[in-house]
Symmetry: C2
Subunit: 248 residues, 2 copies
DNA sequence: TATTGTGAAGTCATTCACAGCA
DNA sequence: TGCTGTGAATGACTTCACAATA
């Protein structure tokens, strides 16, 4: 791996005391907050756009505007990469993109296997966001014999019965589950058994996995419900405010 | 300086002091944390499944297991709905579902307009999660003349030029953006102008909207990048653990 | 007795404000 | 002069632990 410690910065706060003495180093070294990790990909996208436009440097304020966050958040987030900016100037776009990319582990392409070739799975297989920046959809699986064998984009739908072989063949690191809810857990189990430790699920169910397996869920009905919650409080509030005149 | 992120709830805290004493209390009181709001829909799904199975009561511990969170989280979350459980017994499944549903504002059906009838938009139009529980996809729009007029499920793709009329006709409360990135901002602007204040975007861009409009983003490449981050730290660690004798 | 509901403590994240540096 | 990087303050969320109670 590209794990060099060429960085001279001697004072990396390691919360060693919080854990035991014999905890594997990987848990201690980087210490990047989850919230920061979730924003780094957004910065990376913005930096890519800036780079395409020929912009050489960017300030935390500009980057913040383009990413839709506050500038203090940007500076705090980037501080976890070590000193990457130049005071009075800003950040070098190319260098920063490289740093962020490296921090996220996007140093090599990862193969992605999608299980469930329904509408959503097929859509994701062709989705541009999947093809870009370090991910390649290398297989699309389904149970339905009527679907198995049909082409979707560059791929041909394969039988989910061969899941283990497909994972082995493609060296997939990430599994995406777009099956109906009831099938999700068993598909998940098989992905895990096949060696996949990173799973993105669109199924509206809770998946249980062994320790060490990382599951992220995207649940459309949850997103809609959250919007509904805010919506339901906004309507009465607006009426009240309108009657009382402008808020400020 | 719109400073909203994908998780943004534009106005969680109402500045009560600014309004004096005669603002209706119910508008100010609830103060449900964002993190809780994001979990309530999950509880609601679990409660629905329990109800279908004929289960009458459920403890915070059981609910926690089914929802994939800790039991203290469940109790804390539900405490925001007022006293809903019975000590020594648990929660009444039906009554709790009703309470949660009401808290989320899922009391009436909301019309959803999807803009972008590509793979993803078409998939979402037919997605079960959209049809269930208080949401109905009432229109699907696109720019492409070759797509406009074609049927997708029960719907016929309409011309995005008629966006304003479609929103008015359907009384849509929620807009879903599944266009390519470059088109997203202008579609967003038009949705907002048409009176939509709740937007779910799948476009990989930052959307800027006026205050009071709620935007949630689902970004597949962000999700994958987060998985990649954890994946890239797991690999070296597993080797280390394997050498040291991993328990599981 | 079993389980809720909640103070209190702890952990994590955001924001402020400015010293330090190019 | 302008902007980064970061202590310190604030705020949000989680977890603990147990008193209250059906």
């Amino acid at each position: 791996m590209t794990e060099r410690r060429s960085e001279g910065s001697a004072e990396k706060r390691v919360p060693a005391a919080a854990f035991g003495a014999d905890v594997p180093e990987r848990l201690l070294l980087p210490g990047v907050p989850d919230a920061t990790v979730a924003r780094l990909p957004v910065y990376l996208r913005v930096l890519g756009a800036l780079s395409d436009r020929g912009t050489r440097t960017v300030s935390s304020d500009e980057l913040a505007g383009l990413a839709g966050v506050g500038s203090a958040v940007v500076r705090r987030d980037l501080s976890h990469l070590g000193p990457t900016g130049t005071r009075g100037v800003g950040y070098d776009v190319e260098a920063l993109a490289e740093r962020v990319s490296h921090m996220l582990g996007l140093t090599h392409e990862r193969a992605v296997v999608i299980v469930g070739a329904g509408n959503l799975g097929s859509a994701l297989a062709g989705y541009a966001g999947f093809g870009s920046r370090g991910f390649r959809v290398s297989a699309l699986l389904d149970t339905d014999p009527a679907v198995v064998g049909t082409p979707v984009g560059d791929l041909v739908v394969e039988d989910v019965a061969a899941l283990e072989q497909v994972v082995a063949r493609t060296g997939a690191a990430i599994g995406v589950i777009t099956t109906p809810g009831p099938a999700a857990q068993s598909v998940c189990d098989r992905l895990v058994d096949a060696g996949i430790a990173s799973i993105l699920s669109f199924a509206p169910t809770t998946l249980s996995v062994p320790d060490g397996v990382d599951v992220r869920r995207v649940d459309l009905s949850v997103e809609l419900a959250i919007l509904a919650f805010h919506d339901s409080r906004r309507l009465p509030a607006e009426l009240g405010l309108a009657a009382a005149g402008d808020a400020s």
